[in-house]
């Protein structure tokens, strides 16, 4: 491997030997193509004409009035497929094409990454297999249908916690046996090197656009940029453009599930310990011995015991702050925000909106906050319905 893939003590590539050549091949291909003129111009066209980039930065008038400061929304929910996941899938999918791979596999939690991978599989004519925990297949069934309509095979993973973690376990096992012709299109800025680097790169368009749009629209940088954090891809995508702007506060929002104190959550940056899982060293929810704990969150896309290594690093050097909000506050804001703005936020993205709402009346009126609305909530209407009293 060319690089160690470290962010401070975090990251690395802790994988079985059999996967090393595949990761090496991927790292080589990434560094060969990511600045290549043909590759980048092809990707730019896809971003624009297929995905719908750039996405708008929208000033949420009524929500701003409600909270008492200025809230701008980065509209990743408007992208094709309904979430930021398509940015990464177009990038990695194109990389797979340039590498001559013909088969794609991916894990998915909320189904957004599975859907985006299935779309790209159809677009590039690649055979696509999606691994999804059985519980998630059930709670995100609309996306399962869409994936199948795109021609993908959806494999329901039984055993374990039957959520994102187990989908990754199974995808890794499958990859181990099929490394030669299969490209593992990983969905978040986590996992073994080079994934955190690659995913961040292909998601960095969010931050680059948002920063430019702030300067154009507001005439200055925002005071706060916030995003929800599952594995960390939409958050690192928007944070990365602002990391050097020391006066811009970065706030990542994790799922507190039923409450941090209950242990039923998925907030490793708030309540985890450093450990190793799925090829990377990161904050991790685990027991004293190092067995991985069950997680809980109303949003399937954030229901994961670990978190991308770069976020762990940003936390440790105090460059970003990571907070957590509970399921009940997420459901509450879903309702409030939808009624305020006529925009259905994904339950994942609703976490960052819930944190913004928690700051109501606490921030000066001229404070500007940019929220990365990572996806739309169409997939979540059933869950919201089921959970509303």
């Amino acid at each position: 491997m060319k690089n160690s893939g470290r962010f401070g003590q975090f990251g690395g590539f802790y994988v079985p030997e059999v996967l090393i050549p595949a990761l090496e091949e991927m790292e080589n291909a990434f560094y060969k193509f990511y600045k290549d003129e043909k590759f980048t111009s092809e990707l730019d066209v896809l971003y624009k004409d297929y995905a719908g980039r750039p996405t708008p930065l929208y000033y949420a008038t009524r929500f701003s009035e409600l909270v008492g400061f200025k809230v701008y929304i980065k509209r990743e929910d408007l992208l094709h497929g309904g979430a930021h996941k398509v940015n990464n899938c177009l990038g990695q999918g194109l990389l797979a094409k340039y590498m001559g791979k013909t088969k794609l596999i991916a894990e998915t939690g909320a189904g957004q990454h599975g859907l985006a991978t299935s779309m790209i599989g159809a677009l590039f004519g690649m055979q696509t297999k999606i691994f999804m925990g059985a519980i998630d297949v059930d709670r995100q069934s609309v996306n399962v249908h869409k994936m199948r309509l795109c021609g993908a095979e959806v494999i329901s993973v039984k055993g374990g916690t039957e959520t994102l973690k187990d989908a990754i376990n199974e995808a890794l096992r499958y990859w181990t046996a099929n490394v030669a012709d299969t490209f593992y299109l990983f969905g978040t800025a986590c996992g073994p090197h080079p994934y955190p680097v690659i995913v961040k790169h292909f998601q960095s368009c969010i931050g680059i656009e948002a920063r430019r749009q702030c300067l154009e629209k507001i005439g200055k940088l925002p005071d706060i940029v916030t995003a929800c954090v599952g594995g960390g891809s939409n958050a690192i995508g928007i944070f990365s453009a602002f990391v050097q702007d020391k006066n811009v506060k970065l706030v990542g929002v994790e799922p507190a599930g039923k409450g941090i104190e209950t242990g039923k959550h998925a907030a490793p940056l708030n309540a985890g310990k450093v450990g190793i899982l799925h090829g990377t060293k990161m904050y991790l929810m685990q027991n004293k011995e190092g067995q991985i704990l069950d997680t809980e969150s109303i949003s399937a896309g954030l229901d994961y015991p670990g978190v991308g290594p770069e976020h762990c690093y940003l936390k440790d050097i105090n460059r970003a702050q990571y907070v957590a909000v509970k399921d009940e506050d997420v459901l509450n804001i879903f309702d409030i925000f939808t009624k305020c703005e006529g925009i259905l936020p994904a339950l994942e993205s609703s976490h960052s909106l819930a944190w913004v709402y928690s700051q109501k009346g606490k921030l000066p009126v001229d404070t500007t906050v940019v929220v990365n609305l990572s996806g739309r909530g169409d997939k979540d209407v059933d869950i919201v319905e089921r959970n509303s009293k």
Binding site: M1, S4, G12, F13, Y14, V15, P16, E17, V18, I20, P21, G159, G160, K165, N169, L172, R173, T176, A177, N178, V179, A180, K273, V274, G275, I276, L277, H278, G279, L284, Q286, K288, E289, G290, Q291, I292
Partner: protein, 263 residues
């Protein structure tokens, strides 16, 4: 304490190395099973400490991990288990496990404590030669041998580097994939054994998919210094969960078949 070196030197056939998950299906039965494997003629033991997320394992060993965890196995108890096996017979023991358990225990302390309990080596499924520095020195300091994996897709130069860091044996993975019983041996294994034999003197032990005495004989002919039988033997436990007394007998019988075929 008996070393790998002594064991390989004294054997006139490839070492017979069964694999079990410690505490599967429960601590006491597991101990009886391992003793039965020793009685059947095992030359070395490969023992796993159960992990919640075993990404290198197929369904059979995944289920064994779950059984062991549900029956209450812990890293501490696994250490006692090894000491108990050693008290029964001085046989070399290699551990096969995932890194997080060692990381949480503290690598230095883990190697020291487990060496003291009677472990000869610790193979970490999700730690490659690239991160050898995190474990090599503490392992050697504790008096352990080192074992790393080579797979059919490992480049020759890399295989050399790996071999240089193996003081016990090279864990040679016979196929591309996870653990699990297979009907036939992969055609990748013979060329891999030849390649390893041409670049190193470290014993070459083959695992993953080895399921039948015929497989062991084939591997012996190809030059393997040891055969590791994992899922197929763990399957005996899975198939006899409602008659635990039978498991030990079946395991002895199964190992004897391999021993006879190899001798």
């Amino acid at each position: 304490m008996r070393t790998y070196k002594e064991t390989f030197a004294q054997l006139n056939h490839p070492a017979l190395i069964p694999f079990f998950v410690i505490g599967d299906p429960d601590f006491d039965t597991s101990l009886e099973i391992v003793k039965a494997a020793i009685d059947g003629g095992a030359d070395i033991l490969e023992l796993g400490i159960a992990f919640s997320d075993p990404i290198a394992d197929g369904p059979t060993i995944q289920k064994a991990d779950i059984r062991a965890l549900n029956a209450g196995i812990t890293v501490e108890k696994a250490k006692d288990f090894i000491a108990k096996v050693k008290a029964y017979k001085d046989i070399p023991i290699g551990l096969l496990m995932y890194y997080n358990l060692i990381f949480q225990y503290g690598a230095e302390k883990f190697f020291a404590d487990f060496a003291k309990a009677g472990t000869n080596s610790v193979l970490i499924a999700d730690l490659s030669i690239d991160d050898v520095d995190e474990i090599y020195t503490p392992a050697r300091k504790a008096g352990l041998d080192t074992v790393f994996m080579v797979t059919p897709n490992t480049e020759t130069e890399r295989a050399k580097k790996i071999a240089e860091k193996c003081t016990g044996f090279i864990y040679t993975v016979s196929l591309l994939g996870v653990t699990g019983g297979r009907d036939t041996l992969s055609d990748m294994i013979k060329p891999l054994i030849s390649k390893l034999k041409s670049i190193t003197d470290v014993p070459v032990c083959v695992g993953f998919g080895v399921s039948k005495p015929e497989h062991a004989v084939e591997l012996a002919k190809a030059g393997a210094d040891g055969v590791i039988i994992g899922s197929r033997i763990v399957k005996i436990i899975e198939d006899n969960l409602n008659n635990k007394v039978l498991i030990a007998k079946e395991v002895t019988k199964f190992i004897k078949e391999f021993k006879t075929a190899l001798s």
